[in-house]
């Protein structure tokens, strides 16, 4: 690109502005890592919790969720490495990051306050739906928007079945609302 020797016409100026703003759009595929990691963790957690609760005498079926600890560690390391590697920082990166950090705070309160009991899977579905829906809008990726909305439908279904079965509904919700859009995002 040359500098300022020849004068710019209105149209040329507009073309430069449009092209550069288009060029600045970041690579959204990187975000698929989190959807796939947490999608599989949530899937295993829900199915494992259901299995331990229904088919074994194990007193702490919720202990399966300890698998989320290594997932947190992996998420932090991956996020740190990605931010070090990135040559550009988009506004959307921070927005998405804070949406999911606030989701995580809500999750910690819901799980560790001990006040929500069997409604936990339903509340998690509602909040995960909101975070996924907003993320979909920020990166303008329709499968995530639909995926986020599907969480809300599954939340209603989960509230209508027996508590243990709400875990299975959550597993299906994770597949539809998280993993399928996550794989589509990876392929985008």
């Amino acid at each position: 690109m040359s500098t300022e020797s020849k004068p710019l016409s209105n149209q040329e100026s507009l073309d430069i502005i449009t092209r550069m703003i288009q060029n600045a759009k970041g690579n959204i595929r990187g975000g698929s890592f989190y959807f796939l990691l947490w999608g599989w963790v949530a899937m295993l957690g829900n199915i494992g919790h259901f299995y331990l609760m229904e088919y074994t005498d194990y007193s702490y079926p919720f202990a399966i969720w300890l698998i989320s600890i290594p997932a947190w560690v992996v998420s932090f390391i991956y996020g740190y490495r990605q931010s070090k590697k990135a040559k550009v920082k988009a506004y959307s990166d921070d927005l998405i990051k804070w949406v999911w950090i606030s989701f995580s705070f809500c999750l910690l309160i819901i799980v560790f306050s001990g006040r929500f009991g069997p409604t936990i899977p339903i509340l998690v579905l509602l909040l995960a739906g909101m975070a996924t829906f907003i993320t979909g809008f920020i990166i303008k990726f329709k499968p995530l928007i639909y995926g986020g909305a599907s969480f809300w439908i599954f939340a209603v279904i989960a509230s209508a079945v027996a508590p243990s079965y709400s875990l299975l509904i959550s597993a299906i919700a994770v597949l539809v609302g998280y993993l399928i859009p996550g794989y589509k995002l990876k392929a985008a």
Binding site: M1, S2, T3, E4, P7, L8, N10, E12, S13, L14, I16, I17, R19, M20, I21, N23, A24, K25, G26, K84, K87, V88, K89, A90, Y91, D93, D94
Partner: protein, 96 residues
């Protein structure tokens, strides 16, 4: 070309306008990213970035990634205002 008398001369240049359009869309960008997206040579880009920096339109930060020096640019408040005013003036010409 008298129509262009109100367009900020600092922005009314291909490469500087391209740099500002990129930076207005992101929080910050490294020199190599701007070079890649604009297709400019390092020397030319460096000169234009200096001009924008001296005018207070952008902020330039020099740091290290490991042992590698990294130059990061971000648009300033003054730069955003100048860019908006440039686009508004451009729009008013097009509407004429």
């Amino acid at each position: 070309m008298s129509d262009f008398k109100n367009l900020d001369p600092l922005l009314h240049s291909q490469l500087r306008l391209a740099v500002m359009s990129l930076l207005v869309s992101v929080q910050s960008a490294e020199f190599v990213f701007i070079k890649e997206k604009t297709g400019a040579t390092a020397g030319n880009l460096s000169v234009q970035i200096d001009k924008l920096n001296n005018a207070g339109y952008i902020e330039v930060t020099k740091s290290f990634k490991g042992k590698k020096p990294v130059t990061t640019c971000n648009i300033s408040k003054k730069g955003i205002e100048a860019f908006e005013s440039y686009v508004n003036t451009l729009q008013s010409y097009i509407k004429k």
